[in-house]
Amino acid sequence: MEQDAQLVQQCLQGDGSAWEELVRRHTRRIFGICYRFTGNRTEAEDLAQDVFLRVYRTLGSYRSAHGGFATWVTSVTRNLLIDHYRRTKRDRVTDSLDDKMAVVENKESAGRRPDEQALLGELSGQLQNALTRLSPELREAVILRDLQQLEYAEIQTVLAVPEGTVKSRINRGRIELARILQQMGVRPA
């Protein structure tokens, strides 16, 4: 974390190699979050680029006193993912981003090629498919906790909600995910 803060300072002083190092250190994680959220590699690539572009342009606003650089970048990623979801799902009736009850979406994971599915592995692919069927609030909570291994406090910072809400979303997300997999025939009843 301290090394990230040093790299940020060097970036602000115009050091391009420091920025390149920051990109290399965080690309895998950010792309992972974007892919797990969207279920689509092409969308995830575009979103990851947008994340780093926004981070690059607003680097001067980062304050280490407010948390680690990784947490800050994850917050930017989450905000972009939500914006993207709103843009692409504007017509969806079950939009639950306005504090409505979370509802399971019957959404197909669009855009995944058959070779991608084979590469992911059958169970992993089904899990990813089920993940994209969760509502955005539950999906992001489960991704950050169970796939990115973030602590509750970090997730609280990223989502900007109380810790109780974080725990509630993670719990509901896990239970809904298990039920979706059961409906898909992956889990026994």
């Binding site: 690539e45 780093f52 590469l119 796939l147 291994q149 889990r187 026994p188």
Partner: protein, 228 residues
């Protein structure tokens, strides 16, 4: 108080993450282990969490980093032809590359010298496999012989030192033999084996050199060599 299914469901993740207190955990398990609805729910969520934790990281597209850098820092200029060659040469001027190249060159020179290849007077014939093999065998034998000689010389020195220590102990225990019994009876200048008019150190030195000569005669490698 026995927990209900709703309570168990609400605290399911806390239980799996180990966040329940002792009494809460007992109440949870008392219901979850026997309820026909909660048992499969707990098992499926527990299995799901385990599988998600074991999921492999997503493979990053190989060009993503460069695409990000192009978008943020701007596209990098690609050079071709003579400019690319000059850029490569400039890259070799770095201290790291120079140090590496010098190390490799020194390694080759040492290896070639040990195999009999003369750096000052190089010959193509020295590179022939038969000559390389012959030179290598000769160098091995030379090194072996030098090592043997070194070990033998050490042994000689050790033997001499131990004999000297022995003689030193003998001299200390019997000092009367060195000094004459009746000094006033001898006239100055009279020579005999003991040479009493000479200082004690000279007598001792003469005895030591006599011992060394005997030792040299005994040891085969030191045979015929004068110690003095």
């Amino acid at each position: 108080m026995t927990w209900t299914c709703d309570q168990v469901e609400a605290r399911l993740s806390d239980y799996l993450d180990g966040l329940l207190t002792g009494p809460e955990r007992a109440e949870f398990e008392a219901h979850a282990d026997s309820c026909p609805q909660c048992v499969p729910l707990l098992a499926s969520v527990r299995s799901l969490v385990g599988e998600m934790h074991a999921m492999e990281e997503v493979e990053v597209p190989p060009r993503l980093v460069y695409a990000i850098l192009d978008k943020t820092l701007g596209p990098r200029e690609t050079v071709t032809g003579w400019q690319a060659f000059l850029q490569m040469i400039r890259g070799m001027a770095s201290p790291k590359f120079a140090y590496g190249a010098a190390s490799i060159l020194a390694t080759f020179v040492i290896l070639a010298s040990s195999l009999g290849f003369s750096v000052k007077n190089p010959k193509i014939a020295d590179l022939r496999p038969a000559n390389v093999y012959r030179n290598a065998v000769r160098e091995v034998h030379l090194v072996g012989a030098r090592g043997e000689k070194y070990v033998s010389d050490l042994r000689v020195v050790y033997e001499i030192q131990s004999r000297l220590r022995q003689d030193d102990n003998n001299l200390r225990t019997t000092p009367e033999e060195v000094l004459p019994k009746s000094v006033p009876e001898k006239t100055p200048g009279q020579t005999d084996d003991r040479k009493p008019n000479q200082p004690r150190q000279q007598n001792r030195a003469d005895q030591i050199s006599h011992q060394l000569e005997l030792l040299a005669a005994e040891l085969p490698l030191a045979g015929g060599r004068s110690i003095r």
